[in-house]
Every structure is written in C-alpha cells, then in structure tokens.
C-alpha cells in the first residue's frame, strides 16, 4: 500500500482529473462537440491520446512481464506493429473518413456495403465494449484496493463516478485532454524509471552482459527478430503476417476509438499529422515499458510471475513522489481505457443504432442528450457487471481473444472496400460472417492446427486471408455497385491530386 506523499499524489490526480473534465463542459454545445470535439483539436493532443489509449495499465504491466520472459521482441508490437499501419491510416484511410464527414467506421461500412454490415459491425462492438467496461472497472478497483487500501465497492464507485462525470459532461474533448496529461506524466515518470534502473544495473552494456550469462533461456533476449520455430509467441512470421499486415492495420484503421480521435482534428492536415506524430511517439513506448522489464531480469532475477516486474521496479527504484506519479499514471491508464470505451460506445449507439432505427431526423440537441444518456446507462451496466470479473478471472483475456477474431475479417472488408470498386455488399457481408466463423473455429481447435503456445497472430492472418478471398469470389459472382453509389467511398488516384471535397 502507498503511504504519505505518494498516496496524496494519487488522490490529487483523481480529483484533478474530475475538475479538469468538468471544466470541459463549457465547450460542449452540440452533438458534434460531444462526439468529435467540434472538429477543433490540434494534432499533438490527438497523437498523444492515440498513444495513451493504446496502453492501458493492464498492458503496461503485461508488456513488462513479457519483456521479462521473452526479451526485446515484445517491442515489435509498438515498432513494426504501429508505424506502417499508422502511415497507411494517415495517408489513405483517415482522409476518406474525414472528407466524408463520418462519425463511425460502421457508418463507412454502411455506405460502402449495406445497412446489414453496418449493424452487424456496430452491434458486435457495442456488446464487447459494454462487457469490457465491467472488466476494466473491476481492474481499477483492484488497483485502488491494493494501492490505497480502499474496499472494492468504494473503489468501483469512485472510479465510475470520476470517469463517468467527466465523460458525461466533457465528451471526447475531455477524453483526449485528460489523455494528454496522462501522457506527459507517464513519460516523465517512465524516463526517470529507465534512467534510475540503468544507473542501478551499471549501464546498458553491463546489463546485456549480465543477462547473456544467465543461461540458455536468455539467449534470444536481445533479438528483435525471433526464428520461425521459437517457443515464444512472437516468431518473425507471425510478426510479419499476423501483426504487420493484419492486426496493426485493423487496430489503427478499424478501431472506432482510434479513428474517432483523428476525426476530431481541426482540418485534414491535423488529422493526418496526428497519426504520424502518434507513430513517432509510439516508438518510445518500448523504452518505457520494455526496458524496465529487461532490467528487472538483473535487479529481481527469478520472479515467478513476470507481471510483477514493473510494480517491483517502481517500488524499489523510484524515489517518493515519483512512485505516486507512476501509479497515478497507471490508474489514469485504466481511466483512459474506460473513458474511450464509454465515448466510443455512446457514439456507435447514437449514430449507428439510434439515429437510423429509432428516431430519424431529430434536432441536434436531441442526439447530444441521447449520447449523454447512453454514456450514463453504459456506466451503470459497467458497474453492475463488474463483479463478473471476480467470478471468472480469465474474462479479460477471453474478451480480448474474442475481439481479435474480428480484426482479420473487418480489415479484409475495409481494405477491399476502399481499394477495389468491384467489391459488393454480398461479398462484404459473407466475408465478415464466414471470416469470423473461421477465426472462432481455428481458435477452438488451435491445438490441432498450431505448434506455438498462443497463436493469435497466425489466427488473425488466416482469417483475414479467408475473408479476403471470400469477399473477392462472392463479389465477382454478384451484381456490381453503380458509380453513383461508390462516389467518395473508393480510393482513386484523383483524391491525391484533386482538391475538392468528396
């Protein structure tokens, strides 16, 4: 449990976030303000927010733990797993979504394919996001319980109260700007940790030498490219096909909370720049989360649970004050995951379900109210379902695995939708349904198909490939869309040279 100044810092952070979020209430006057920040935000804030929302506290601890066990190859997820995908998003996909004035990705899928594809994608996301909320509330409560000694229920209500209030009042502006604060605090605390850990282990070269002498299982700890037959979950084939070609793109292009952030930019240049700036920042993330895990191999050798590596390093290396700051950043990581989920789900529900199916053509204030009420309802669902996590401890991993089933097929239909005019609504629909089904099948019988322990990279690649092929075959067999229907939805070299709005 934290004591003294560190306890005070975590409390101050929570209260400060609440006040800051409430302050942003004055900038919300329309549904565009609530869902897209009035399209007025600068690239640096969005870039920082993209990076931060990607690393919640759970990943923070998990990545250090994996670095402790498998070495530097974990960094692939932030390096090759981000930069190429973010450049593709910046230069091809984001300008399309931006010029089309869209709010959600299913909205694009609806215009490009049909309403069914839009609804399937949207409903699946809403369901999983809502389930995820309960899990994250529980995780925050456990963290607060350990750090501050508060009872679980008080911790849940405190987290829900703070995050709920600022998301309810401030919308996406509050979500992004609280991320900026978290980013700055996390980077300063993280660099202090790396600096002090390097001092502790006697410099980088010394650490490499020490780890090299620790035994055969540490032999590949400094190889970023792991051989195809490695025992770790990260063989280079999985990194190239599964991560670089599919999962990274699906995450940066097909993830509502990421794309929605870019759409808050004040103009097209800021939207593109936010992604590229984010990719530059992303390259520093492994320094913050991976290096402490590696250094823990020397400072705390023989840990049974690698996930303990980062918390132990923080407690044993950082001075009072910065310990509190780092744990506040941890907690903020959880809060930022919760606020992204709340805001994105409210956007998906209002734009893809409520507006087309429940009440068309209402005035803007009405949709703003619906967005806010949805946020509140989701918050209550999250709080009510959070105890499920204590009964089923594996649920977070289960939800993440389920989410990964969608990545391959969703990216296949987005990619073909934007690059190939001939793709039809039936092609897209069948690729989505069959692709997801195939991913579930591969996962259920994974022992029979795969030799590595956790083959999620391979599953995403093969389900993408099948979705892609199905989409092509079915599209060729069905009636093609007219030029009029495809206007502004399919990539053409014209977008690069012509200056007009789509």
């Amino acid at each position: 449990m934290l004591a003294g100044i560190d306890y005070f810092i975590v409390i101050a952070y929570i209260i400060g976030m609440l006040l800051l979020g409430l302050y942003f209430k004055k900038f919300v006057n329309s549904s565009e303000d609530y869902f897209l920040g009035g399209k007025s935000l600068p690239f640096w804030a969005i870039g920082m927010s993209i990076v931060v929302s990607d690393i919640g506290a759970l990943d923070f601890v998990g990545v250090s733990g994996q670095a402790y066990r498998y070495g530097i190859s974990v960094g692939n997820f932030d390096w090759v797993g981000s930069v190429p995908a973010m450049l593709l998003a910046a230069f091809i996909f984001i300008p399309y979504f931006w010029r089309g004035g869209m709010y959600t990705i299913p909205e694009y899928l609806g215009r490009r394919y049909n309403q069914k594809v839009r609804t399937i994608a949207s409903v699946t996301w809403i369901l999983f996001f809502a389930l995820d909320l309960g899990v994250l509330f529980w995780a925050s409560a456990v963290l607060l319980n350990v750090l501050m000694g508060w009872p679980i229920w008080i911790s849940i209500v405190a987290t829900a109260g703070v995050v709920g209030l600022y998301t309810y009042f401030g919308g996406i502006t509050a979500v992004i700007m609280t991320d900026v604060v978290q980013f700055i605090i996390m980077f300063i605390g993280g660099f202090a940790l790396v600096f002090l850990s390097l001092y502790e282990v006697g410099g980088w070269d010394n650490m490499v030498d020490k780890i090299a002498t620790m035994g055969p299982e540490y032999r590949n700890h400094f190889d970023i490219i792991q051989p195809q037959d490695t025992k770790s979950p990260f063989p280079w084939t999985g990194i190239l096909f599964g991560l670089t070609f599919v999962m990274a793109n699906a995450y940066m292009i097909g993830n509502q909370s990421i794309v929605q952030r870019c759409l808050t930019a004040k103009n097209e240049w800021h939207a593109k720049a936010s992604m590229i700036f984010g990719s530059a920042l992303k390259m520093f993330i492994p320094i913050l989360v991976l290096f402490p895990g590696l250094m823990a191999v020397v400072v705390h050798p023989g840990l049974e649970d690698g996930d303990q590596a980062l918390p132990m390093m923080i407690k044993s290396i950082l001075p009072p004050g910065l310990v509190g700051l780092m744990f506040a950043a941890f907690f903020a990581g959880l809060m930022s995951s919760v606020d992204s989920l709340l805001n994105s789900t409210a956007t998906l529900f209002t734009k893809d379900i409520y507006e087309p199916f429940i009440k068309k053509g209402a005035d803007d204030k009405h949709y703003l109210k619906v967005g806010q009420i949805t946020t509140l309802v989701l918050l209550l669902i999250g709080v009510a379902t959070s105890p499920i996590s204590s009964d089923f401890p594996g649920i977070y991993v289960a939800i993440q695995t389920f989410m990964s089933y969608f990545q391959g097929p969703i990216f296949a239909i987005l990619l073909l939708g934007i690059f190939w005019k001939r793709t039809t609504e039936w092609g897209g629909l069948s690729a989505l349904v069959i692709g997801i089904g195939f991913a579930i099948y591969l996962n259920v019988f994974k022992e029979q198909f795969f030799t590595i322990e956790d083959p999620f990279l391979y599953i995403s690649w093969w389900s993408f490939l099948l979705g892609f092929i199905i989409n092509v075959v079915v599209s060729l067999l069905t009636k093609k869309h007219t030029e009029e229907q495809l206007k502004g939805l399919v990539f053409s070299s014209k977008i690069l040279v012509e200056n007009k709005k789509l």
Binding site: G189, L196, G321, L322
Partner: protein, 76 residues
C-alpha cells in the same frame, strides 16, 4: 480572422491553460516530495522531474494566456 476561427483558437487556448495549470501543480507536488528522499540520486531525480513538469505546465499557461489576450483584443 473570422469570428469562428477566433472562437476555436480561444477554445484551444483555454484548454491549454487548464492543462498547463494541472501539470504545473503536479510539478510543484513532485518538487515538494524532494524532502522525503534519502539519497542524492533520488533527490536529483525528483528535482529534475518536478522542474520539467513545472516548465511544461508553466510554458503552456504562459503561451495560452498570451494567445487569449491577443485574441480578445482582436475580437473587440
């Protein structure tokens, strides 16, 4: 500049002002935490981290304040 643009810039500056204040406050707390440190290295780490936070936060506030002043005079 149009009124809309001025309002948008004003909004951005007000947001930066609030963020700057928040970050600076944390810098002050970390600087204050120096008195709880034991070794020289810990002492220096808190000091450097605190000063960086204060300068980032202070810089943001200073920039925002001057922008707000400029925009308000333009509006009138």
């Amino acid at each position: 500049m149009e009124t809309n643009e001025i309002n948008a810039a004003l909004k951005a500056a007000q947001i930066n002002n609030a963020l700057g204040f928040f970050i600076m406050a944390f810098g002050v707390i970390v600087l204050f935490a120096m008195i709880f440190t034991e070794t020289f290295v810990e002492h220096m780490t808190d000091m450097v981290a605190g000063l960086i936070l204060i300068s980032i936060g202070g810089g943001m506030m200073w920039k925002a304040k001057s922008t707000i002043k400029k925009l308000k005079s333009k509006k009138e």
